[in-house]
C-alpha cells in the first residue's frame, strides 16, 4: 500500500490525465463489444486478442520502417477481413444458440489466437516507438507523452465517424434495425446474415484501431488479450447497451481507477484489481436488481 498519490496532488493529476486518455481507448474497444452484443447477442471473449492482433500489425509496420501511426489506417482494413473470416468460420454457427455456447466458442478462438500470435511474433513484450515526444504541464510536474494524446484524439475521431456512419448509411440503418428486432428486420428485407458479418467486421476493425494505438502508446504481448475483453465487458455492463456517452464516461472512469490502483496497490495487482472490480460491479448490480423485484404480499 502506498498513499503517496494523495500526499502529492500533482501525482493525482497525472494519474487522472493518464487514466482519462487510457479510458478513451478502452471505450473504443467497449463500443465494438456493445455493438456486437446488441446486434448478435454474443459476448466475444476473443475481443482482447483481436486488439492485440491489431497492435501487432502496427508493430510490424514499425519493424519494416513505416511509421506505426499508419497502422491506424492499415490495421482496421486487415482486421475487418479477419473479423469477417472469423464470422464465416465460427460465429455464424453459434449466433442463435445457447448463450454459453458462444462464450465457450469465442474462448476457444481466444486461446487459438493467443498461441498463434505467440508463435508468429514471439513471447516478448514489444512496443512500436512513435517518437512523438512529450508535453509538460503544470510547471513540468505532469508529463504526458504526445502519443497518448494522439491516440485519444484518433479514438474520438473513429468513434465520431462510426456514429455518423451508423446514423446516415444504409448498412448502419440495417444494423440498427437488426439490433432492435432481427425477425422484423428480416421480414422487411434486411439480409441479417450480411448485417451480422458486417457488424463483426466493424467490431474487429475497431479492435484493430485500438490495438494499433495501444502498440504506439503502451506495450503489447500475445497473452495480454483477456484483460481487454474483461475491461470492455465491464464498461458495457456499467454503461448499458446503446448508450455511447455512458460507454465513454465509464471507460474514462475505469482508466482513472486503474491508474490509481496502480499507484496505491502496486503494479503487480493492476490486472487483479480490474478483475476484482468486475466481480464487485456484478455483485452490486445483482443486489441492486434484486431490490427492484416485487413480491406479492
Amino acid at each position: 500500500m502506498d498513499f503517496m498519490v494523495f500526499q502529492y496532488p500533482m501525482i493525482s493529476v497525472q494519474a487522472c490525465l493518464d487514466g482519462v486518455l487510457l479510458g478513451i481507448l478502452f471505450a473504443l474497444i467497449a463500443y465494438g463489444m456493445a455493438l456486437q452484443w446488441g446486434v448478435m447477442n454474443i459476448i466475444n471473449i476473443a475481443q482482447g486478442d483481436l486488439v492485440i492482433l491489431g497492435g501487432y500489425i502496427a508493430y510490424f509496420m514499425y519493424l519494416y520502417g513505416i511509421h506505426p501511426a499508419w497502422g491506424v489506417i492499415v490495421a482496421p482494413i486487415i482486421m475487418f477481413f479477419v473479423g469477417i473470416a472469423i464470422y464465416k468460420l465460427v460465429i455464424n454457427k453459434v449466433v442463435d444458440r445457447d448463450l454459453f455456447i458462444s462464450i465457450l466458442a469465442t474462448f476457444g478462438i481466444s486461446i487459438l489466437f493467443m498461441q498463434l500470435m505467440n508463435f508468429a511474433f514471439g513471447a516478448d513484450v514489444v512496443l512500436a516507438n512513435s517518437d512523438y515526444g512529450t508535453t509538460m504541464l503544470f510547471n513540468n510536474n505532469v508529463v504526458l507523452p504526445n502519443s497518448k494524446i494522439f491516440s485519444a484524439f484518433i479514438s474520438i475521431l473513429f468513434a465520431i465517424c462510426l456514429v455518423i456512419y451508423m446514423k446516415k448509411s444504409k448498412l448502419g440503418r440495417a444494423i440498427r434495425a437488426t439490433a432492435q428486432n432481427a425477425r422484423a428486420a428480416k421480414i422487411l428485407g434486411v439480409d441479417t446474415e450480411k448485417v451480422y458479418a458486417a457488424t463483426f467486421g466493424i467490431n474487429a476493425a475497431l479492435c484493430g484501431v485500438a490495438g494499433a494505438l495501444i502498440s504506439i502508446t503502451f506495450t503489447i504481448h500475445p497473452y495480454m488479450g483477456l484483460p481487454y475483453t474483461i475491461r470492455s465487458f465491464m464498461i458495457v455492463i456499467v454503461a448499458g447497451l446503446g448508450n455511447l456517452p455512458g460507454v465513454a464516461m465509464s471507460g474514462m472512469g475505469l482508466g482513472v481507477f486503474e491508474e490509481f490502483a496502480d499507484y496505491i496497490l502496486g503494479t503487480e495487482f493492476r490486472i487483479g484489481s480490474v478483475f476484482l472490480l468486475l466481480v464487485l460491479i456484478l455483485v452490486y448490480r445483482r443486489f441492486k436488481l434484486s431490490k427492484k423485484r416485487e413480491y406479492l404480499k
Binding site: 454459453f100 455456447i101 474462448f107 476457444g108 481466444s110 486461446i111 487459438l112 489466437f113 448490480r285 434484486s290
Partner: protein, 349 residues
Amino acid sequence: MKDNLILYIGILIFGIAAPFIFPAFKVQLSILCVLIVLATTWNIQGGEMGYNSFGNILFYGLGMYLCASVQVGMFFPLAEWTESGGEKTFVHTPAQFFQGMAVGLLVAAIVPTIVAGVIGYSILGLRGHYFAICTLGLGVAAGEISGGIEIIGAGQGFTTPPFPDVGSLDSRGEFFYFLSFFTLVFTFVAVRSIYSTRFKLILNAIRDNEDKAEAMGIETMKYKIIGWMISAFFCGLAGGIMGGLVGYIDSTDVAFDGREMGVFMVLMAILGGKGTLWGPIIGATVFHIFKEGFWTFFLGWQYVALGVLIVVIVIYFPEGIMGWLREKYPERFGEVIDEKDRKAQVELK
C-alpha cells in the same frame, strides 16, 4: 440394476489393479482420476443446474494452496519454507507428511465450500452471460492476486513437501494413485446418491425455468448455493491432491490455471454430455487420452490444438457423447416411445 452392480464391481477391481497392470502410467491415471472428479462436479452446477461457471478453478486452486500450506505450516514456519524455494532445510518425517496431508485435505475441502457459500450468495443471482463472465473474472483475479502474496511464494511458486522415504521407490505413485482413485470413488458415490434425490430434480427445474421453479415455491437461491458448495467441496479436494501430485504450485500456471484446467473441466463435461452421470466420466477419459496424444505428438502446438478442439466440440458436439448415444439408442436409456401416448400428446398440442 444387476447389470450395473456387476459393472461397478468390475470398474472398482480394474481401478485397484490398474497401477499394477500399467505401472508406467501411474501418474497419468491419477491425473485422470482428478480430471474425472473435476468434470463430474462441474457438471453438478454446470450441467444439472444450468449455471455455467468458469470459476470452479478458484476452488481447485484454493484447495491446492490450502492443502500445501497446512501440510507445511503444521510443522514448520511457512514463510521460511517458501523463501527457501524447496531446498531441503526442513524435511517431513513420514508420520508428519501423512498427518499433514490428511488435515490439509480436510481444510482444502472445507474452506472452499465456505468460500463458495459466501461468493455464491453474492453472485448466483446473476444469470447467463453475467454469471459466466463473473466467474471467469473471479478465477483470473484469484490467480493474479495469489501471485502477489509473499507468504505462499508469490511469483516464484510454492514447492509442496516432497514424499517421504518409506522404503520402496514406487510408493509415491501408488499413494497418490490410490488417494485420487478413492476420492473418485467417494465423489462418484456421493454424486450418484445426490442424483437419486429430489435435490437433483430441483436443480433441473432451476435449469429449465428458474422463474417457474421459484413460482412453484422452491427457494431457488438456497438450492443454487448448496449445489455450488457441493461442487466446491470436491474441487478443493481434487486441488489438494493435485498439488501433492505435481509437487510444485504456481499461481497462474498450476493453481488458478484458467487457460488449462479451468477450461478442461467445462470441455470434458460438454464432450461427454452435460447433465448426465456418466457423461463427464466418459468425456474426461476420452479427453485425457486425446490430450496426452496431442501434447506428446504436437509439442508446442498444443494450445492451437486446444483452441481448435474447443471450437469444434462446441459447434459440432454440444450434446456430447452421451447425447449422441441417447439419440441413437433411446431404449438403452429407458426411454420407451409409447405410440398411444405420443399421439395423445400431439393431439393436445
